[in-house]
Subunit: 515 residues, 2 copies
């Protein structure tokens, strides 16, 4: 027996068993390997996977502390293996997987607050080591705690080159035939690809695991896009048995990482060869084979997937209107009764496409609109530059302005009493206002004025309570005390856009909301 | 007989007959006076009106040149009067009334292009002479060619004082009882007003006529709001016979001015005491008594009036959504098949209300959005200042930024081939594009990128035609030549918001669209 992590493992870390097994024929399809992991509070069965060179791996994420036993079986090995290990308390930065709480919000499994603040770098993980390190450095200095990226390589504008590796054994089509003119014709199976879709190229998946762990180290959730339509290699239109093999391989390799979220697809509606029944089939595979119930969603281009589906844990929305984006969060909360994550509200940048050329001020405005309506906006950047390295696709450096203002926003999130914000249903037609989702946390109001530039606003809650007011400049990132009031009162503003006002009941037990 | 304008009058000017008549009793209700005006091409009957001091006036606007005869009759005078006069050719700046042409657009009756570019100063006409002169001076230097204002005085935020005159004989309530707290309670008839609603205060109407003529002198249409709900004097809730008397008086006094447009109401839906049947009744009075068919509409606060109604010549819209305003022009054109005038898309300013605090950039963006969708946006300003003089209510000076950019916009309108722009139905999802309404004027495209900031855009129309491209900065007001192209081509932009691209087919007869 061969423990990569020794006989001790932290709760929510990966306990991995490596065994040598059958190499004849096709080890990816011809043999089975699975593990049963048993502790006082749980018994979990997982599938293992073949990792090349005769090695099979079985991964497990324990959700409880204490002694576990395990048994590995399957026809890949000549005899069962068993053993036991200790699960220790999680270390300081290990809060477990993220879960849905309070209908519309998230929380780490240990109860630590988690307000998703995501970005997108579709194939940052398939770039050079140098570029990957640069991306990680950028992320480390950012306020992001979630990133969307793909397992499969991506073929799309500004990203027509070869990835660092391919997921299957075989050879890709000759990309020298590509040019701008016929770019649009590549939407799946094309001449010249020569893959064995039953044999995975394990280094590709090992590389993705390195990236998932690197993200985990800096507190970032890996919102993994399992399928996407930007394809010249045929991975978006494999046969059902090939798809099933892929899904199970992905799940057996990645599901033990606590920071994994499953995004079944990016722009599911752009796949020419897939129907809703296909996505439902993949969803069932995840539900059947991921024993940890990681968060699951699917992302649209134009029509929404039906986010009512019971397997979907949260909305993963691309806005449907050029002008109104985050402004629909209230409606989507009511419609779906799930967390509303806006995984694409356009990208800050200056490329030719309308989805990739909004300003930093507009991006930040969309963020605050979403936040004050009880939703979770997502970021991305598409600035043209001489090296053709765009954050949205490759990672690297950030060039925009909005991201610099997310830590400020995130702090305000964290100062909210309870867990999460909800739209205030009594606010006026010309303002957005958030209150704590938990209605017992009353007396906290976060008003946002968006593109409007009022010189003052008037307030009235009741005649008795004392309220403390603050004027927040969401762009310049200042919070100024604006006095203590009772009854009707007026708060003055500088008459410029992107301002907010926070009003908090004064708690005379000296428990105010800001520290 | 007593001609104010002598025996000659220009076509579309006012030919006025003044006669002395009965003064006993109530000359506003007890007597009739009317005129029949007869030329080679038209015979028009109009009602006259009492103008005080025993004088009755009958006004007529001739639509043809040549000799006219007239006859004045009615029981206000002891015997009929008759005479004749010559109608001469219009002088250079007299283009006649504005008419609807080409379904969605306007034109002066003489065929001169008219692209409405309106503003709103609700009661500029009821301010001091000095303030009125200042407003006229501002208008003279502006690109505006339409202004909305009221006959009745206005009671509303920032405008609680007494007007220079009242429309009826009598005395107003004591305005010293007003304060911010009970401001909202005044929505019509209130204690302390003592009006004779059957006797007009003629100086009030004479003052409005002076303003209408002063506007005419500087080429501005008077979009006269006949009723409005911002009222502490009871004028918004008179009895039906009082309303009828008022409507007929207004029509008989004002309809001979060629620059009059009838706006039945501002925010018709805010009148507590009026139903649609009332507005339809007023509309019928206008249709019956205005022989010149001046433009007619009615303005909403929230629900639209049914702009399908046959008496309505054009939509006079207040946007219904806080975020999307001009963006709906395409839909409204399809729905109503009439010119879409956006008489309120919010005001540039910084007051507390969301309808009155958008930035200059946002106002100009809404203008271009509307223009490139084949609509006609309207302006207004609500900047707070120490004197509490707000353009939207009082006139005076402009403090904003958008209005400085309207002459530039207007020039682009005027350079459009044909008369008026229509939305281009083949434009992409992430752009707005206008083409000439007249489809025979093909090969002219005005693309607008709104808040987006593309670094370039790609175009393809056909392989044969040569096109000239220009990059337009709508904010900085520059037009830069961007080359001549055929087939597929790419136009570079500076990657900032509020940019447009104009593409024009090169006409080898040297007839290009720009001079």
């Amino acid at each position: 027996m061969d423990f990569r992590y020794g006989k001790k493992v932290e709760k929510w870390d990966v306990f991995q068993v490596e065994v040598n097994g059958a190499e004849e024929g096709n080890p990816f399809t011809d043999y089975t390997i699975c593990g049963t992991f048993k502790g006082k509070n749980e018994t979990i069965e997982v599938e293992g996977f073949y990792d090349g060179n005769g090695v099979y791996k079985i991964r497990f994420m324990p959700s409880f502390e204490g002694t576990y036993s395990f048994e590995i079986s399957g026809n890949a090995i000549s005899e069962k293996k068993s053993g036991c290990f200790e699960v220790t308390a999680p270390s300081e930065d290990n809060h477990g997987p993220v879960r849905v709480v309070n209908t519309y919000h998230f929380m780490y499994e240990d109860g630590t607050a988690y307000y998703p603040l995501g970005t997108t770098c579709y194939v940052w993980n398939l770039q050079s080591d140098k570029m990957i390190e640069e991306t990680l450095e950028t992320l480390r200095e950012s306020a992001f705690n979630k990133i969307r990226f793909c397992v499969f390589p991506k073929h799309y504008d500004y990203n027509l080159g070869e990835p660092r590796s391919y997921p299957y054994e075989g050879t890709p089509m000759d990309s020298s035939v590509l040019n701008k003119e016929n770019f649009g014709e590549y939407t799946g199976k094309t001449e010249g690809n020569n893959w064995n879709l039953k044999r995975f190229h394990v280094e590709h998946f090992q590389q993705i695991e390195k990236c998932i762990l690197a993200l985990q180290d800096i507190g970032i959730e890996a919102d993994l896009i399992i399928m996407h339509p930007y394809d010249r290699w045929g991975f978006s239109c494999m046969e059902p048995d090939e798809d099933e093999l892929y899904w199970k391989y992905v799940i057996s390799r990645f599901s033990a990482y606590r920071n994994i979220w499953w995004s079944l697809a990016n722009e599911y509606d752009l796949f020419e060869h897939k129907a809703v029944s296909d996505w439902e089939r993949y969803a069932k595979i995840i539900c059947d084979y991921d024993p940890y119930n990681h968060l699951r969603s699917i992302h649209n281009c134009i029509p929404f997937y039906d986010y009512h589906r019971p397997w979907i844990t949260h909305c993963s929305i691309q806005r449907q209107d050029l002008y109104k984006t985050s402004e629909f969060v209230n409606e989507w909360r009511v419609r779906y009764k799930k967390p509303v994550v806006l995984d694409e509200i356009a990208y800050e940048g200056n490329i030719q496409h309308g989805w990739g050329n909004i300003s930093g001020t507009e991006m930040l405005r969309r963020f605050w609109e979403a936040v004050c309506r009880g939703g979770y906006p997502g970021h991305g950047e598409t600035f043209m530059n001489s090296s053709n390295i765009l954050w949205w696709s490759h990672g690297g450096k950030l060039y925009g302005e909005s991201h610099k203002r997310f830590a400020f926003l995130s702090n305000i999130w964290k100062e909210t009493p309870g867990n999460g914000l909800a739209p205030y249903d009594k606010c006026a037609w010309d303002e957005v206002c958030a209150v704590p989702e938990d209605s017992s946390e009353n007396g906290y109001y976060l008003y946002y004025y968006s593109f409007m530039q009022p010189s003052f606003r008037e307030f009235y809650f009741d005649n008795e309570t004392e309220y403390e007011a603050e004027v927040i400049d969401t762009w310049d990132m200042t919070i100024n005390k604006a006095g203590v009031y009772r009854g009707k009162f007026k708060i003055y503003l500088p008459g410029k856009p992107y301002m907010a006002i926070r009003i908090m009941k004064i708690r005379h037990d000296s428990q105010t909301f800001t520290q």
